[in-house]
Symmetry: C2
Subunit: 105 residues, 2 copies
Amino acid sequence: MADNSMSDRELRRLTRGFGALHSVLRLRILSALAQNESNVRDLEAKLRVSQPLLSWHLTQLRQAGFVSAERVGREVRYRLQPTALRDLVGQIENVLGFSLADNPD
Amino acid sequence: MADNSMSDRELRRLTRGFGALHSVLRLRILSALAQNESNVRDLEAKLRVSQPLLSWHLTQLRQAGFVSAERVGREVRYRLQPTALRDLVGQIENVLGFSLADNPD
DNA sequence: ATAATTGATAAATTTTTATTTATGGATTGT
DNA sequence: ACAATCCATAAATAAAAATTTATCAATTAT
């Protein structure tokens, strides 16, 4: 029997992950970045929201690990980090104590 | 190429799902329910939080579809709905446009 | 050096979500 | 019917997150 107990700190971290996905705009950002990495202006044009708002949400996503930011010249390229999303699924499975892939019901 | 565009309404629904997991207490509840279905008093004793607070969070979880509630006599049995969690993973994959299971990187 | 571009941050405000406390509704046991 | 148990809901408050507006920092181009 696997140990499925998680510390408060681990749970907090996990909730931050889910919290980062608790936003239509952030899901849109992830969707856009899933198609191609972009800088903030690209996203601004594509998603029609203000630049500071985008920066704010990008910061949230970055802190949760779902995107990475790399400075290239004067722009900052944002890139999706699928591994963080996979990890999130793995961690919720830990909380539950079973794999979501199994038990088709 | 699969259609990975989602309506605003679908995205909203998805964010509500993630929002429901954006709480340490709610993850604890899910963890408890993953072990065995329970009524509110069971959870109250196990998680050491007030009954109204539990009811509130259970309502959130129920609205997100992660738990079901069935009245049995004077108690209400709460049960985990793993399918809803699986669906959530499926939907985020839809947003991204690829499967998290594939692409180990 | 100056101007233009790109993006972050700060402050103020609004909106959403969580928590407490109090109360009421439903069901069972006597 | 009455008391006890189990749970939801409502109202008030507190806390957290999102949004806007304004400003500043870093990089590049002239």
